[in-house]
């Protein structure tokens, strides 16, 4: 039980309001201690909602959550009050896409990191400041003693994201959730942050769930990839398996759409149509309307997972028994 750092079983998330949105539909996922998993998907596929559910960040009144979520053996759904507070930031922390919004503009970055350390580790102020200094060094911020006294607006985008990572890791969480942390950054800065995260993961040994829409980014940081579509995982495997032997037609389409190694002027093998609106629970394979291989059986019921090996699964009825080549 405790071998699994994250264990999500049959998670379903619905948002209620003027209309109902079926954001996550029967999602099961596990992560071992020290593993890095990329949740890969397009907008609306439910990847960010999965992260927010893990941190209990969804608005309780408008969201209906079913299923079981355990992090390090703790039932996340049952947490409240003090226990929830120390779970957030202590056990699990998160890096967001826009560090400009996630950092508090009226406190220096040193004060923000120190506050988190004092709150979760019970350190005195001087000790907390020196931890903050140590963290800024670890994320390779030049002249850290000066940067401790800077406000977020005085830092560049890449620097702010480094501070965000320092803040998230200051309390040594077991699990780091990263929600598109490099999407807003320039290419030359993005690769720096990706490599930094990879090194820190190795150093601290925490589990990481990294949400991204960019396959190239997933390849750089993760050892496993779970591909999401319309609130479900459609394929999961090691990064190597997903890149070199994709089985789900959607995964194959995504890889083709990356344009890596495509001849100039050659017609792109685009996936037709657009993702579904999620206003109804799925009655068949959600990808069937866009799938070149779909038949009546695909629309008749939600496809179960086909296990292709240990921790290698595909939710497709038409999956080839042999690798495509």
């Amino acid at each position: 039980m405790t071998e699994k750092l994250v264990d999500i079983r049959n998670l379903t998330v619905r948002f209620k309001g003027a209309r109902t949105v079926y954001a996550i539909n029967d999602l099961s996922l596990s992560l071992k201690q020290g593993e890095t998993l990329a949740l890969l998907g397009e907008s609306g596929s439910g990847k960010s909602v999965t992260l927010k559910t893990l941190l209990r960040l969804l608005p309780p009144r408008r969201s209906e959550i079913e299923g079981e979520i355990r992090v390090n053996g703790t039932d996340v759904q049952a947490l409240s009050g003090k226990a929830l507070q120390s779970y957030r930031g202590g056990e699990v922390s998160m890096v967001f896409q826009d560090p400009g919004l996630a950092l508090d503009p009226v406190y220096t970055v040193g004060a923000q990191i120190a506050e988190a350390v004092m709150r979760h580790k019970g350190l005195r102020k001087e000790e907390a400041i020196s931890t903050a200094f140590d963290m800024l060094q670890r994320v390779h911020i030049p002249s850290p003693e000066r940067r401790l006294r800077n406000y977020p607006h005085e830092l560049s985008g890449g620097m702010r994201q480094r501070v965000m990572i320092a803040l998230a890791l200051a309390c040594r969480p077991r699990l780091l959730l990263a929600d598109e942390p490099t999407t807003a950054l320039d290419a030359t800065v993005q690769i720096q942050i990706l490599l930094l995260l990879r090194d820190l993961q190795r150093e601290f040994g925490m589990g990481v769930i990294f949400v991204t829409h960019d396959i190239g980014v997933a390849v750089e940081v993760s050892e496993r990839i779970a591909v999401m579509y319309a609130g479900r995982i459609v394929e999961e495997g090691t990064t190597h398996e997903i890149i070199n032997d994709p089985r789900h037609p959607y995964t194959r389409g995504l890889l083709a759409a990356n344009l890596h190694d495509i001849a100039r002027g050659e017609r792109l093998n685009a996936i037709p149509g657009a993702p579904p609106a999620l206003e109804e629970p799925p009655s068949g394979c959600s990808f069937a309307p866009r799938c070149p291989m779909a038949g009546p059986v695909c629309r008749a019921g939600v496809p179960d997972f086909v296990n292709l090996g240990p921790r290698r699964r595909v939710a497709c009825l038409r999956v080839d028994p042999v690798p495509a080549e």
């Binding site: 397009e42 690769i191 190597h240 890149i243 792109l268």
Partner: protein, 352 residues
């Protein structure tokens, strides 16, 4: 892709200079934005957004512009259609200079633009049909509504279903198709696509790219394609122009730049692309730190603060755009490629 056998959109501006005349020539374009501050709102500094940019676009070709945020690629685009007024420089469209023989109104008949944010660039209170027909109506082109319907059908949206809808009722991909149709409704000859596919999901992006390639062939269009995604730029462009802090650092045919980047910045930009090979991931980042602030760009070569080949000459003297001896049409602004620059490693193959 020769310009002689193209079918133009109905009501297009006539070709004036013939196929040999470049469709667009830009000379020494400059735009500085003042930054105001202090108690009296005095001018404190200047953002050197675009500083001495020159290039040309041939008829029927696609020029890709790449660079990081703040490099001036979008400002360049806005200067080209007169959305932002230029401080200095010349814009010559099919042989006619803007401000001289060519009025801004005529320029906008010839040049149209598609923006990144598909929602913000459509009027939320106009139906799709009205949005597309609006420009054609203002310019007095005949049958604006019929035009709008034909173009909607051409970009893959059934006019009977979509003509009376509003922008918020459409998906991002559909809205971007509408923006493309609206740009084409003016029968332009040059379309500037400023990160036009960047906000779309990958699967939808591929559809829109296919559409852009089809339209280019069908109507003999010329594109300026601005993007930060090198793979997309390579797919659609004939030539690439690389910008850094308001200046052109390298320009040349796609294949030439893809096989051998001449400027150290271009090299870094290419090395920063994720590898796509799990067995061979990127080991060290090609550059450290963020791009410098364009308010106070470094002296000399603007890249010298991040360049690992930088020498004393790079700190004092700005390099000129020079043609690579082996590849005609491939230019780079780097002292390494100028034997007369005084850079100790000039003329040697240091980049490997």
């Amino acid at each position: 892709m020769s310009a002689t056998e193209t079918v133009t959109l109905p009501g297009s501006l006539a070709d004036k200079g013939g196929p040999a005349q470049a469709l667009l020539i830009v000379k020494d374009l400059r735009k500085y934005f003042p930054v105001r501050g202090g108690i009296f709102g005095r001018r404190q500094a200047m953002v050197q957004a675009v500083d001495g940019v020159s290039f040309s676009v041939e008829k029927g070709e696609t020029l890709g512009i790449v660079g990081e945020s703040g490099c001036g690629k979008s400002t360049t685009a806005r200067l080209l259609i007169g959305l932002t007024e230029k401080d200095a420089g010349e814009i010559i469209f099919d042989g006619q200079g803007l401000g001289g023989e060519l009025s801004p109104r005529e320029l906008r008949r010839g040049v149209q633009m598609v923006f990144q944010d598909s929602y913000a660039s459509l009027n939320p209170r106009l139906t799709i049909e009205d949005s597309i027909a609006f420009g054609a109506r203002v310019q007095g082109l005949d049958d604006p509504v019929g035009r709008a319907h034909r173009l909607m059908a051409r970009v893959g949206l059934d006019p009977t279903r979509f003509a009376q809808r509003y922008p918020h009722e459409l998906s991002g991909g559909q809205r971007q198709r509408i923006n493309i149709a609206r740009a084409l409704a003016m029968s332009p000859r040059l379309v500037i696509l400023d990160e036009a596919v960047s906000a779309l999901d990958k699967s939808v992006e591929a559809q829109v790219l296919n559409l852009l390639v089809d339209l280019r062939g069908e109507f003999g269009l010329t594109y300026i394609f601005i993007s930060h995604d090198l793979n997309v730029v390579r797919y659609i462009s004939d030539r690439i122009l690389v910008m850094y802090l308001g200046e052109v650092v390298e320009v040349g045919p796609v294949d030439a730049i893809w096989s051998a980047q001449a400027h150290p910045y271009t090299r870094s930009l290419f090395s920063a692309m994720p590898s796509m090979d799990p067995d061979n991931r990127t080991k060290t980042p090609p550059l450290s730190g963020d791009p410098p602030n364009p308010i106070d760009p470094p002296e000399g070569c603007r890249f010298h603060t991040r360049c690992r080949f930088a020498d004393s000459v790079c700190k004092t003297r700005a390099p000129k755009l020079l043609e690579m001896p082996q590849t005609p049409g491939h230019l780079a602004a780097c002292h390494l490629h100028d034997p007369a620059s005084g850079h100790p490693k000039a003329g040697t193959e240091v980049m490997g």
